[in-house]
Structure formats: C-alpha cells, structure tokens
C-alpha cells in the first residue's frame, strides 16, 4: 500500500507536474487565426518574463516553494536536476500564462502589463501564505481572462452587440489595435489557465524526499542516542 502511494507521489512529482507546466507553456502562446483557422505561435514577450520573475519571487516569499528543500546540497544530483527542470518549467508556464491573457499589441497590451506589474510589485510587500497567494492568482488570471477573451475580443467580433456599441461610443477616436483571433483561442487560453492552476495545486512547498536508507536510519538513531546520553551526563 505504502509502495503504491510513494510511487504515485513520485509519478506526480517528477512526470505529471512538469508535463502540466510544459503544456501550459505550449498552449499559452497558441492563437488561432480568425480568417484562416491556422495556428499562430506567439513567443512570450519580454514583459511576461519580468512578470514571471516577480511571480516566482512571490511563490518563494509566500512559502509556496521552499527553495532550500527544492535545491539542496545534501540531495542526490538527479533529484536536484529534476527539481531544477520543474522550476524552469514553472517559470515558463507562468510567463506563458501571462502571455495567454495579455492582449498581443497596442494600448491594451501595455495597460494590462502595467496592471499586472503593479499588482505583483505591491504583493511583494504584503503578508501572504501559499493558499492566499493561490486564491489571489486565480482571481488575477480569471479577471484578465474575462477582460481579454470576453470583453475585448467581443469588441472586435464581426457581429458585436451592445457592448461593442457602448465601447465604440466611449473610446471614440482612440485606436486600440487588437488582432482578431478565432473564438477557439479563448477555449485554448481557458484550458491553459486551468492547467496552470492545477499545476500550482500540485506543487508542494517542500518536495518529497527520498526514503532514508537503513544505514542513514541507523546513523540518525545513533546520533539521537548520543545526544540523550550527553544530556543525562550533563544533568
């Protein structure tokens, strides 16, 4: 029973988690052209990399990732390498998650980027724990998703409704350059964000450590006994 649990935990930690994060990296920059239905791959813009660094810093500050346990000198090289790859995958997944909800160009791109930067920067100085951080991120990405894929894309839909008319009246004379993508792009982005949140849920602050070998257990027991005898003699 214990073996199964350990094996499944290892599978999730070393295979499922990097796969989920890399899939976010793949889907975050994928758009579907509205006219031709062809793929468009948008590499993460520089600003999303900056946002991903700020978010990574938040993960560490909030204790969602304990770097000392993820990368430690007393761990086997393989474990450190696997953890390093997972952290790199997390970095790119974060960048692509931002890329997915950031308008591609124009005024809205810089407005969204500014608000993301502002939010993440002010959060650096707030008291956070891992759970609150996750809730805050869900709200942040959810809001950006609704704004980009429901409101802004609705503005530029060929058959725009009342919202398009109101926005056209409000933003008269302001050129907002947003490329038109097929509605399926919104579904891809939604799937990427859901995967990203699932990936964040799967990340343990302290990763599983290899089970102690019999020799290590014996050494630990000897240490404990030595400490006990020292304590007794000092008393």
């Amino acid at each position: 029973m214990k073996n199964y649990a350990e094996r499944n935990r290892a599978l999730i930690h070393f295979i499922v988690l990097p796969t989920i994060l890399l899939t976010v990296g793949l889907l975050g920059g994928l758009r579907i052209d509205a006219q031709t239905g062809k793929f468009i791959f948008i590499a993460p813009p520089l600003v999303t990399l900056v946002l991903a660094i700020l978010l990574g810093s938040l993960f560490v500050r909030a204790g969602a990732i304990d770097l000392h346990h993820w990368l430690a000198i007393d761990q086997p090289t393989l474990t450190n390498l696997a953890h390093l790859l997972t952290l790199i995958a997390l970095f790119f997944a974060s960048a692509q998650a931002f890329n997915s909800v950031l308008p591609e160009s124009g005024l809205l791109h810089w407005m969204f980027a500014f608000f993301f930067l502002w939010t993440l920067w002010t959060n650096q100085f707030s008291a956070f724990d891992a759970r609150r951080l996750l809730k805050s991120l869900i709200v942040l990405f959810g809001t950006a998703f609704v704004l980009k894929h429901l409101l802004v894309s609705g503005l530029y839909a060929p058959a725009g409704g009342w919202f398009k008319r109101i926005a056209a009246a409000l933003l008269q004379g302001i050129a907002i350059d947003v490329p038109a993508f097929a509605p399926v792009t919104g579904y891809v982005s939604f799937f990427a964000l859901v995967l990203y949140v699932v990936g964040l849920l799967l990340i343990a602050p302290v990763p599983m450590r290899p089970p102690a070998s019999a020799v290590n257990k014996l050494a630990a027991r000897e240490d404990a006994l030595a400490h006990e005898s020292l304590d007794e003699t000092s008393e």
Partner: protein, 166 residues
C-alpha cells in the same frame, strides 16, 4: 530504485517535451499537417510529392505558370527542395516578364524562391538540367530577377522592346 527510475524517466521526458515545444515555436507550423511535414523534415525523411511535381512541369510547359506554381507548392509544402523552389522562381519569372515592364510583385516572389533554392542547395550552387529552360543555374535566374526589380536608366532604352524572354 523505483523512485530513481521515475526520476530519470521524468528528466528525459521533460527535456524531450520541452525540446518539442521550443521546436514548435521555432518552426511555427500553421496546421497539424505542417507539424507532420516539419517532423518529417527534422527526421530527414522528407520527400516531395513527385506526381504533383510532374503535374507542375506539364502545366509549366503549357505556359500555365500560376497553376504550375500551385502544384509545386503542394509538392513541396515545407519549401525544402531546391529544385522545386528553382522551378517556382522560374515560373514567377516567366509570368512576370514583360517586353515593356516586368511585374515587380512576381519578380520579388521569384527572388524569394530562388534565394531559398540557393540556400538549400549543397555549396549554394544549383544547376538544373532541363533543355526547355534557357537559364539552368540558380545564379543566372537570380541575376535576371534582380535586374527586373531594379530601376535604372536602362529601363528607358527603346532597344529593350526587342529583348527575349529566357
């Protein structure tokens, strides 16, 4: 032991999957079909569709250049075959050539194709043995296309009216 095996498998899988994603973003395929074609190119098993290439040749010999280009584009979707790219450039040249003036858009398209052909050819030299063509090297074709897109005093030369299409 089992944990170590899962770790190694995880590392290999992560590197392979990440490499695949980087490759996708670098090659930017436009459809699943292009993904398959690019995979064939990467694996070194890419071949042009010979039947469509021959169809293109038949259309080219009947001066149906646009249709010929479409056939060749379908025969070499990845634009990796220097010979096909040379023929596409030649079709652009023949269709765009004019006694008084040349079609700049077609010549530019031809120039792009011939540049692709040169870059794909081993040592950058491409020679096509075809008795129906008057220019058999990519270098000659490139020069002709470049001259067609350039503006010079020579364009006003009335003797230009007597030149022949190659």
């Amino acid at each position: 032991m089992q944990r170590k095996f899962i770790q190694i498998a995880g590392i290999i899988w992560t590197l392979v999957y990440a490499g695949f994603i980087v490759w996708l973003y670098a090659t930017e395929p436009r459809s699943f079909k292009e993904v398959a074609t690019n995979t064939q190119v990467a694996a070194g098993i890419y071949e042009i569709n010979q039947e469509r290439f021959n169809n293109g040749l038949a259309l080219f010999s009947r001066d149906q250049f646009r249709a010929a280009r479409d056939e060749w584009a379908g025969a070499d979707p990845a634009q990796r075959d220097p010979r096909t790219q040379f023929y596409i450039a030649y079709a652009c040249y023949r269709e765009g050539w004019g006694r008084v003036y040349d079609d700049d858009a077609l010549f530019k398209q031809g120039l792009e194709a011939v540049n692709r052909a040169i870059s794909l050819a081993p040592n950058g030299t491409l020679m096509v043995e075809d008795p129906n063509l008057q220019m058999n090297t990519a270098a000659e074709l490139k020069t002709e296309l470049e001259q067609g897109t350039e503006t010079s005093w020579n364009d006003l030369n009335p003797l230009k009216l007597f030149r022949k299409r190659k």
